[in-house]
Symmetry: C2
Subunit: 219 residues, 2 copies
């Protein structure tokens, strides 16, 4: 790997880590907005998404330049293509945080979720934060041993997602159809956010170990 | 553009068009499965998704090889990177068709949707088909004049999506919470399928005209 290419890749890597911080902060603040029906917080998340999108575009441009000017070898190319994919996933994680914030804004000044589910969403928010901060660490250090932790957190998010489904469908649900749909969509945003993080860490594993990428369904 | 690179790109293009056919057929059959509670049809859509995933991987590999062996110029690179992005979007459209099919399987032998909404979902299915077949034409011919049609169909899908929301939230909704959630999620799958198609055509426009890509939120 030549020095110019290695430098460029290092910059891209630092920007990807920066993206994990921004999308982590976005989901964290979106969760706060959700739990407290905090309109100002929700608006700040929505406004900040443009910065995430811009950073993703910058990374894309830099990767283009690296490929076009440095002609990376077959061995080095996966790093750049992987970075492009990772930036796209992180950008979508930012969009999902924005979706959570928009949902809070939509129902303001009411809470978007019934009081008794605040704990579950707080838990999902906490897991999302743990996942994204470990994802940042995996990108920064290429220490793939953290992926087991991330997978475990993701399973926990999936479990909470199923639990919420069961709750809104139970005969004792007393909050009506609109609230059931709000809870289902919100829960899905967290679940997909976690899935994207898992997909990012799998990409890093693929790049680091050269093992084939095993995708997760993200749609 | 050298001849080997141009040939490779032509193959990739043909494979992308083939993907639009597969994901079009998948959503078409998923819609039939949904409207008729047809388990065999649903299973066939679910089974066929692997072929779409494999084709997406093949395209990815071919693009890698093209970049690594042909060292495309800065001017040619966007074609390859664009193809990678388009393949990823089409793969997700296949996943969304599979989601619709899985929903039909989940409620079999019952219909997943109330009888009176069959017309609306048939309409969404028809629009999805129109959109994806025009998307295939845009990729095949690079005739970007079709994008206006696609955008109009997409707006129509968005309108039906909002209409379904209004219906399930109306006080006269008599099908309960589970059905309201089923309808909402199904409607969202169609809406996102259309959004991905729009994103694909925008990528093609970007490549053909050199104009900057204007993204759509896909999360």
């Amino acid at each position: 790997m030549d020095a110019h290419f290695a430098d460029g890749l290092e910059t891209v890597n630092a920007e990807l880590v920066q993206m994990t911080r921004l999308v982590g902060s976005a989901m964290n603040r979106a969760t706060q907005a959700l739990l407290d029906a905090d309109l100002t917080m929700a608006e700040s998340v929505i406004a900040a998404d443009a910065r995430i999108d811009t950073l993703a575009s910058d990374i894309e441009e830099r990767c283009f330049d690296l490929i076009a000017s440095d002609h990376p070898s077959t061995a080095d190319l996966p790093f750049v293509i992987g970075a492009l994919r990772i930036a796209a996933s992180l950008e979508r994680m930012g969009d999902l945080a924005e979706h959570v914030a928009k949902q809070s804004r939509l129902r303001y000044p009411r809470l978007s979720i019934p009081q008794e589910l605040r704990g579950t969403f707080a838990e999902m928010g906490g897991l999302a934060e743990a996942i994204v901060s470990k994802t940042g660490a995996v990108i920064a250090t290429q220490d793939v041993s953290l992926t087991a932790d991330i997978a475990r957190h993701d399973e926990e998010v999936d479990r909470l997602h199923r639990e919420l489904f069961t709750i809104v469908l139970s005969p004792t649900w007393s909050h009506g159809v609109e609230s059931a749909i709000d809870v289902t969509l919100l829960s899905r945003y967290y679940e997909r956010y976690a899935d994207h993080a898992v997909s990012v860490t799998r990409r890093v594993v693929t790049i680091v170990t050269g093992a084939p990428y095993v995708g997760v369904s993200l749609s």
